[in-house]
């Protein structure tokens, strides 16, 4: 395999049936500009490099049963290791890890547990991967304020833990930079759109924020970002992307709060194939493991430099900066920030 790019399931090895590495998509599509896409990119990169068959499967609906059915389809299709992105897979994997002991699972964005959260257990054939999104958001917020932005916006898709962490980190990063710069007031409009789609409603909301004076919006909601970029292009304002480097999508993207989906998937796959699968563990990818970053090469900062970045990144990595995350505050306004004035838009 790996001879020519094909949509999917490329690299079908001769004589051997099926697809070894399987991914089950969350209900979104494979190119959702978010965890599905990032995960898939990681799989493709690793599989092509090592000439391993791979394929993704789409479940019929969003329910534990349907996810389990898709897992079964993948196992029947010859999967040896299955990658599942999204916390909605926590329950299905909790069940599947026991059902298919011979198959290995990489669960992105979650840890296996049962339906009522009473039992958390990660079996030896499974690894759970979480990201310190608050650190990624922190980097973005810090860089934005350092770069001179004082009117910020945060538009998350929905208030799910990962998105919440991005938002909290963003606010804390802005606060830290403002403190360093001696700025007394930063405005932050804070909103969850209720979907992960590009819709005219989202575009209008972003446009209205820009018209009101917001200078940069951190769009943490998959395709919501496309609506925000569209509004930013019209208003000649800035956008901060999420999850993956979104700079190619629009010139308005000044940076992206990345989480190392692809890298962590690759490293987990590599561990599996090299016999050092971290089964039973729950990994947290933060700055320390290169799990979060800003793509400085493609970022369009005016004053925020690589050196500034390295400094704050190191501080996050070595634990000298400790952040509050989704479990520490009910709402962004409870973060206890003094300079950043958060206006919640419900």
């Amino acid at each position: 395999g790996g001879t020519e790019p094909a949509p999917e399931g490329e690299g079908e090895g001769e004589g051997e049936a099926g697809y070894e590495i399987a991914m089950i998509t969350d209900i979104g599509s494979i190119d959702d500009k978010s965890f599905n896409q990032g995960t898939w990119e990681g799989i493709v990169a690793y599989a092509e490099e090592n000439d391993i068959t791979h394929k993704y499967y789409k479940p019929t609906e969003q329910s534990t049963d349907a996810y389990l059915a898709a897992i079964q389809l993948a196992v029947d299709g010859g999967a040896k290791i299955i990658v599942t992105p999204g916390f909605l897979f926590e329950e299905p994997i909790f069940i599947a890890q026991e059902q298919y002991p011979e198959v290995n699972f990489i669960l992105i964005d979650g840890n296996p547990h049962n339906a009522d959260y009473s039992v958390f257990r990660t079996d030896p054939n499974t690894v759970g991967i979480l990201y310190a999104e608050e650190q990624s958001g922190y980097l973005a917020g810090y860089a934005a304020v350092k770069d001179g932005y004082t009117k910020l916006g945060f538009m998350g898709g929905m208030a799910v833990p990962a998105v919440v962490r991005f938002g909290y980190g963003f606010a804390q990063g802005a606060e830290a930079a403002a403190e360093e710069l001696g700025i007394t007031s930063i405005d932050l409009k804070y909103h969850y759109t209720g979907n992960f789609d590009a819709t005219p409603e989202n575009q209008t909301l972003a446009a209205s924020w820009y018209a009101e004076g917001i200078e940069v919006i951190f769009a943490a909601g998959g395709l919501v970002g496309n609506s925000v970029m569209s509004a930013a292009e019209a208003a000649e304002k800035a956008v901060i992307g999420v999850d993956i480097d979104q700079s190619i999508e629009s010139d308005t993207v000044i940076t992206s709060a990345m989480k190392g989906l692809a890298a962590s998937v690759q490293s987990a796959l590599d561990a599996y194939y090299s016999g050092s699968f971290p089964g039973g563990e729950s990994l947290i990818y933060g700055a320390d493991k290169d799990g979060v970053q800003l793509p400085m090469a493609t970022s369009k900062f005016k004053t925020f430099s690589q050196a500034d970045y390295d400094k704050v990144f190191t501080a996050l990595a070595d634990g000298s900066i400790v952040l509050k995350n989704d479990t520490d505050a009910e709402s962004a306004t409870d973060l206890g920030l003094s300079i950043v004035k958060i206006t919640l838009v419900d």
């Binding site: 949509p7 399931g9 499967y57 969003q62 079964q72 389809l73 059902q99 929905m158 799910v160 209720g194």
Partner: protein, 381 residues
């Protein structure tokens, strides 16, 4: 003599309306499938025939469990199909099943989560009744608007779809929200629909010897029973007679002394209750089943009811079969993923089947002609 009569009976059946209509639908299905094969050939010739086989094998591809899944997915389709079909039969186009469905779902979930004081059978029964009630209420508004203010039901039900979607989101967030998942909470065990013996049939045995159960539950019984009840109401009762009369000709109904406004509102409410019940049935399937997602997207199940109703010729019994068929073939499409096909192929095929079923009238005429010719030939012989 006996065989003669038998033959005559046979011919009578062949010429009967029901058979004629069903055969037209079957012809449409075959044409649609054929077209699907062409698409498979275009997209991936080497696997086209295997792929086609998988589609045909449908739910059977994964044995008894797969067939169970077929019935599981058919359940809400039957209800939303009935909702659309019932309205059609009474002269209304209910394009608002999505809103009724999601509001019904919310009601069922709310009762399922909160009213834990109810014991087992009663809990899910009450939850389902609540779903039907709220679905019905959601259709009451377009019904009243149509009957008393001449507001076209197509526009009002479209508006109610969106209002229902936002309303359900808001209510879930306010009452039964699992914020960690952005879903509704899991309903109490007592509110989950019982398996009704279906688990004994629809399961696979794993290599390890454990059983792999299908999600299907007694919801499918309820759906079929409701369809039969709708059939009886429409075709055998004075109430159905009145509703149909109003659907066909409001003026004549008024002339005949039927309260035509009331009938119109009732038709709409029943249609809404059916869709709402569909929502209830889908969302009371337990911890591993569906939970309501808090997202600004209309419930597809509502729109899927339209092709189901149309393929079933709006006949409640026909709708049972068309819902099962569409579910069956969709399952087949799901298994198509095990080959190199874009999964959307199956949607294209279903669309083609529906499109060809639009030609049913012409096909029906051709069949009638063919049979007539046979008859006259037979007469001469």
């Amino acid at each position: 003599m006996n065989t003669e009569r038998f033959k005559e009976r046979g011919m009578l059946f062949l010429r009967s309306q029901g058979f004629n209509r069903a055969s037209a639908s079957v012809t449409a299905i075959l044409s649609g499938l054929l077209f699907g094969l062409v698409i498979l050939l275009i997209s991936n010739p080497s696997q086209a025939f295997d792929g086609f086989l998988i589609i045909m094998k449908g739910g059977f591809s994964t044995g008894a469990k797969g067939m169970g899944q077929v019935f599981y997915f058919a359940t809400p389709l039957i209800l939303t199909g009935l909702s659309v079909g019932f309205a059609f039969k009474t002269g209304l186009f209910n394009i608002g099943a999505a809103g009724q469905f999601v509001m019904g779902a919310f009601a069922a979930i709310y009762i399922g989560v909160k009213w834990t004081f109810l014991p087992a059978p009663w809990h899910w029964i009450v939850a389902l009744l609540g779903a039907a009630l709220i679905g019905g209420l959601w259709a009451l508004i377009p019904g009243l608007l149509k009957a008393y203010l001449n507001v076209h039901e197509v526009i009002s039900t479209i508006m109610m779809n969106y209002i229902g979607m936002y309303m359900a989101n808001m209510l879930v967030k306010a009452t039964v929200y699992d914020s960690r998942k952005n879903l509704s909470m899991i309903t109490a065990e007592s509110s989950v629909l019982p398996k009704g013996g279906l688990d004994a049939v629809f399961h696979n045995v794993r290599s390890s010897g454990t059983l792999d159960y299908s999600t299907v539950n007694s919801g499918i019984y309820i759906a079929i029973v409701v369809a039969i009840i709708m059939y009886v109401i429409l075709n055998k009762t004075t109430f159905g007679y009145e509703l149909k009369a109003c659907g066909f000709n409001q003026n004549a109904s008024k002339y005949a002394g039927i309260n035509e406004k009331r009938s119109m509102v009732l038709s709409m409410v029943i249609a809404g209750a059916l869709a709402g019940l569909g929502g209830g049935l889908l969302y009371l399937s337990g911890a591993n089943g569906r939970q309501l997602k808090v997202i600004d997207v209309l419930a597809m199940e509502g729109f899927n009811g339209i092709p189901v109703a149309l393929l079933g010729l709006s006949n409640p019994i026909g709708i049972i079969f068309s819902a099962i068929f569409i579910s069956y073939i969709t399952q087949g499409g799901n298994y198509l993923q095990s080959m190199d096909f874009v999964p959307e192929v199956i949607d294209i095929i279903v669309a083609c089947i529906i499109y060809f079923s639009a030609f049913a009238l012409i096909i029906r005429n051709i069949i009638t002609k063919l049979l007539k010719r046979k008859k006259s030939e037979g007469g001469e012989a």
